[in-house]
Symmetry: C2
Subunit: 106 residues, 2 copies
């Protein structure tokens, strides 16, 4: 992922989990697909991010099965994760707007 988007990974993860649980590998795939291959998350970024977010209480995890029937660690949003998603989404909108402002009017 480009440096430009540092700090956005949490938001992306929260967002792709909001329709329902996914396993780590699937989260990476989903972000890749939904962004039309514009975003690619390295596993070395993804898994540590998941642990951080679980530790913060935004995600809960349990062992289960992936869509392909493989052993997988399934992550889902906690209540705190849901409200964190809202917060970060607002922050992102404001920030993106502020930057757009500068790019236009500087």
């Amino acid at each position: 992922m480009a440096d430009l988007l540092a700090g956005t990974l949490d938001l992306l993860i929260l967002r792709v989990l909001s329709p329902g649980p996914l396993h780590g590998f699937g989260i990476g795939e989903r972000i890749h697909v939904v962004s039309r291959k514009a975003l690619e998350i390295e596993e070395g970024s993804l898994y540590p991010a998941l642990y951080r977010m679980e530790a913060k209480g935004w995600l809960k995890a349990e062992w289960g099965q992936s869509a392909r029937g493989r052993r997988a660690r399934l992550y889902s949003l906690t209540k705190a994760g849901c409200s964190q998603l809202e917060t970060e989404q607002k922050n992102w909108s404001q920030a993106a707007l502020a930057i757009a402002e500068v790019l236009k009017n500087a």
Copy 2:
């Protein structure tokens, strides 16, 4: 500046310098004002960024006077800085679009 925007500082600096030279302190002020106070760059981020960018050949600097008549280090874009601005602006647009995509359709 929020973590969300890490990696965006260079772009902002390049952009506010594109209309003409400014001194470091003034760059911070300008970003603050143009973003309607949404963005605030710490001096501890700003000055090191300027040195990095000068070292990369994107900026050139000389001692002169600020708009208020004080001794100040004036920065301006080099040719390389101009094209870097274009590049980063495109990257930002693509990235912001990709994120918007995920936020909508995940």
